[in-house]
């Protein structure tokens, strides 16, 4: 089946890419790995007149870690790189895991974390960790750069806070301190090539056995990936006993509004949010 026609464009600088994107606003799509671009184009979900390939722009495939800033993931850094990186495995294993459970070996060799969030699917596996860990999204536009907190990034299905002519250049995840642990759990029927029925990410901070900070993020149970602040509030200031964790799981279930679709009913999704919230919190605790 032939793809709809478009004009392929490359840019050698970010500024040039932003300018092209603005010039063809509404008619152009940015391309990194293309794995979430070509299938919907074939189905005519969208039919851009222009495709702007970022792969010629130097420096966008960075993957660095800094004790102050944290983990910086460039727009062209592939999921495979994240999955295989010993640096990521050591500094933020939840991020490495979330990359590994996406799609297949072939998709991860091309697909990127930044592309994953820019496509803004409610079930995307990258978002829950970023939400739970307070990531920042670095954006370049025609008039300069800005930083979007991840909790303000997702606006809807395939809708983000990016303005015309804006391109995400990197995502920065703050460093996990010694008393902070994070986890992401994906629940899907198949081990590969499947979307999450639900996903849960957690970040827990413990001081002297007491939880002093926490975040719980949920995937595939709302129009965007979401934080569940009520679930986190249950945990903060307490020792994380089974009863407290159970109460947080209930709060997470109450925070979401899933739909029924081919993968699961809304009731089942909600029930599984309870189960996986507990497991995600416990997986954080097991790491201490």
């Amino acid at each position: 089946m032939v793809l709809p026609q478009f004009e392929y464009m490359t840019a050698s600088t970010l500024e040039e890419a932003c300018r092209l994107l603005l010039e063809h606003d509404g008619k152009a799509k940015v391309m990194a790995g293309a794995t979430d671009l070509i299938p919907p184009m074939r189905d005519k979900v969208f039919t851009p007149e222009y495709i702007i390939d970022l792969k010629q722009i130097p420096g966008l495939d960075e993957l660095t870690y800094d004790e102050e800033e944290g983990l910086k993931i460039g727009a062209l850094t592939t999921l495979r790189t994240l999955e295989k990186s010993e640096l990521v495995q050591a500094k933020n294993p939840a991020v490495s895991y979330a990359a590994k459970v996406i799609a297949s070996t072939q998709i991860r060799a091309k697909g990127t974390l930044v592309g994953n969030i820019c496509n803004s699917s409610p079930s995307n596996d990258s978002a829950p960790n970023l939400l739970a860990q307070g990531a920042k999204v670095n954006v370049q536009g025609v008039d300069g750069t800005r930083v979007i907190p991840i909790e303000e990034f997702f606006l809807g299905v395939r809708k983000t806070a990016l303005k015309p002519g804006e391109i995400v250049t990197s995502v920065v995840i703050p460093p996990l301190k010694d008393n902070e642990k994070a986890a992401y759990l994906k629940f899907a029927v198949r081990k590969a090539m499947d979307l999450a029925i639900i996903g849960v990410a957690a970040k827990i901070k413990l001081e002297n056995g007491i939880c002093t900070d926490a975040k719980i993020a949920l995937g595939a149970v709302a129009i965007t990936p979401i934080l569940a602040p009520k679930a986190a509030e249950v945990l903060i200031g307490k020792e994380l006993t089974d009863e407290v964790i159970e109460e947080a799981a209930q709060a997470a279930m109450d925070s979401c509004s899933p739909i029924s679709d081919i993968r699961a009913s809304k009731e089942y999704r909600k029930a599984m949010i309870g189960v996986y919230t507990k497991r995600a919190i416990k997986q954080c605790l097991e790491q201490f």
């Binding site: 478009f6 293309a34 299938p39 074939r42 297949s104 070996t105 072939q106 998709i107």
Partner: protein, 161 residues
């Protein structure tokens, strides 16, 4: 207006220059423009892995790759593995272990497994199964495929020793 681009890339070790439509996938370029029909067309959605080729050494779905984005890069297809008619140990083990029935997934399977063995000469069974997680086979149940990859790894390690 039909948009076209000039590309230069390496395919199975040969330099190739071509004029391609911008909306041409690498899969259709290989099969229809170059006649390299060993790479199979399955789902065209990046789900089945029948179209797997190596792009700069990594396995990718050629149906989810534009020909034009491969300019300056190196592509290896199933036709690029055998040297002067001699199959690679992996290809031969697929035959010896009966790792195929209808054969449609086989080129993609072999490309994924080739990439695995190039990067990891001593894979565990789990690593083998993860390497072919993006390759669907509806005939074999995968057991014989895993056996063939294990046998090829053993043979290649033995040859190196």
């Amino acid at each position: 207006m039909m948009h076209k681009s000039v590309i230069s890339l390496t395919i199975n070790g040969d330099s190739v220059d071509a004029i391609v439509k911008d909306n041409l996938t690498l899969l259709d370029f290989l099969r229809d423009q170059l006649g390299l029909t060993g790479t199979k067309k399955g789902c065209e959605q990046g789900e089945c892995g029948a179209c797997t080729v190596l792009l700069d050494g990594l396995p990718v779905n050629s149906c989810c790759t534009l020909a034009v984005e491969c300019s300056g890069r190196e592509v290896v297809t199933i036709e690029g593995l055998a040297r002067e008619g001699e199959l690679t140990p992996l290809q031969r083990q697929f035959i010896d272990k009966w790792a195929l029935q209808c054969g449609y997934c086989t080129p993609g399977m072999i490309m994924s497994a080739t990439a695995l063995l190039n990067h990891n000469p001593h894979p565990t069974e789990l690593e083998i199964r993860e390497a072919i997680e993006g390759n669907l086979c509806r005939c074999t149940g995968y057991a014989k495929i895993v056996e063939a990859i294990q046998a090829a790894a053993a043979e290649m390690n033995w040859e190196e020793a």
